[in-house]
Symmetry: C3
């Protein structure tokens, strides 16, 4: 079952999480504050106002989530990655499946 790892500016993260749940692209999104260290156009940045979104969805809904999250996202090149669990508590997997249908 997929978990999507995405990052966003902190002030956009809650709206993106709500967007995913309201549109049944994810059953649940866990939002975590983070600092992001990266290089852009040759300059090193240390951005303390970012967040990671861990979005719980299904294999069937993942392509929609990826496309719609990219379109809704304020960044030009957002981090959107899919990691697949090798096992999920059955009742939780059932709940995710019902919520994103």
């Amino acid at each position: 079952m997929p978990t999507v790892y995405a990052t966003a500016p902190r002030d956009a993260a809650d709206d993106l999480a709500r967007f995913l749940v309201e549109n049944r692209l994810a059953a649940c999104v866990n939002v975590v504050d983070c600092d992001s260290v990266y290089r852009w156009d040759g300059t090193l940045y240390d951005d303390e106002a970012e967040a990671i979104l861990f979005a719980k969805t299904t294999a069937e809904r993942y392509p929609d989530l990826k496309r719609e999250l990219e379109a809704e996202h304020p960044d030009d090149v957002p981090c959107i990655e899919r990691f697949d669990a090798v096992d999920t508590l059955e009742a939780y997997a059932d709940w995710v499946g019902r919520e994103v249908r």
Copy 2:
């Protein structure tokens, strides 16, 4: 080597992490504060008092961790998922193996 991704109410997370380590179900648990956005019974929730537990264990101990964490967990349908690393620093993998034996 498995990392278990589980969520819990913030005020239960530390006790669950200690439970896993004390019972040698995990060698180490990293606990991270998060907000959780989800729908339950048709209502959208934005719960700012949650936490993610990243629990380090072995393939052998994972079935026990899953069963005992579900039993100990205050939620009816907790998020408990297993993600397998494709590589782990050898000395760390050895340490995890010794701690959960």
Copy 3:
């Protein structure tokens, strides 16, 4: 595409993240505060001054990242693990590849 999950003492985490990006071992590192619960030499610890580093790199650069992060890390047995995404937004994957070349 690999994401490296590593932990570090909170006061070393930002320097390690900068080290990885400055040396083009990772394109981006997300640093998250955490508590770590673990047993060491028979004593249970609950260390509230730790951090998780999620480092974005390529399969080609991962062996270098692993070796150099272990050498630079203040702990004797650091948690360094590789998790592979099954899908990554194409523009983001391209950017990571360019940054760690």
